[in-house]
């Protein structure tokens, strides 16, 4: 079946612009996660959605970052007023539900802020 998909695959933006990154989880998966992979910081958790519960936003690095999940499916990660340190690969993952389950990762969106 289809895996986690993310779009765009690459995004180049100018410093100060806003960007939106999209994630389509595996159908039926109720848990959705965003991570960031960068040279300096490795792989870091950003935010997590589970069903209708309030999201766990504890990993968001600043208030410029936000995410939403519409209809329990597609999620959008928004970065406002991008900075060069936001350059990274943004990874989305989904799992069948919360708890001891494997997270399935998408291919990521490579964001470059110039």
């Amino acid at each position: 079946g289809a895996g986690v998909s993310q779009s765009p695959s690459n995004k180049v933006t100018e410093k100060g612009k806003d960007v939106e990154l999209r994630c389509d989880p595996i159908s039926g998966h109720t848990a959705l996660y965003w991570y960031r992979q960068s040279l300096g910081q490795g792989l870091e958790f950003l935010i997590y959605f589970q069903g209708n519960s309030a999201p766990d936003k504890s990993g968001l690095p600043s208030d410029r970052f936000s995410a939403e999940r519409t209809g329990g499916s597609v999620s959008t990660l928004t970065i406002q007023r991008t900075q060069q340190e936001d350059s990274a690969v943004y990874l989305c993952a989904s799992s069948p539900k919360a708890g001891a389950y494997e997270q399935y990762f998408g291919p990521g969106t490579r964001l470059t802020v110039t």
């Binding site: 996660y33 490795g42 589970q50 504890s58």
Partner: protein, 113 residues
């Protein structure tokens, strides 16, 4: 600080050599443990996982890992590596009652024919 540590940053082996990659975590209480692999140009995929039960877990492609609770370790092993095992390997942990993966810094493995 509480963390996941992978002490081997870059490992270079010849084909057929044995592999062991170290992973230690510093969280108390119940944890779930994972090894993920990222082949060149591909996305992260699960090699194996430990939730409970037999501390020796077997994963895909001949990999296995052993959970040693007293040492807070979850080392990855393979008796004979292949060129196709060239990849970056990440150890990760989720703590009881949370689901966010906490990753180690990764180990880059290069296998030469």
């Amino acid at each position: 600080a509480q963390s996941v540590s992978q002490h081997n940053h870059h490992v270079i082996l010849s084909e057929a050599a044995s592999l062991e990659l170290g992973c230690n975590y510093s969280y108390g209480g119940t944890v779930n443990l994972f090894w993920y692999v990222q082949y060149p140009g591909q996305h992260l995929q699960l090699l194996l996982k430990y939730f409970s039960g037999d501390p020796l877990v077997k994963g895909i492609k001949g990999f296995e890992a052993e959970f040693i609770k007293s040492k807070f370790s979850f080392n990855l092993r393979k008796p004979s590596v292949q060129w196709s095992d060239t990849a970056e390997y990440f150890c990760a942990v989720t703590r009881y009652n949370t689901d966010k993966l906490i990753f180690g810094t990764g180990t880059r493995l290069q296998v030469f024919p």
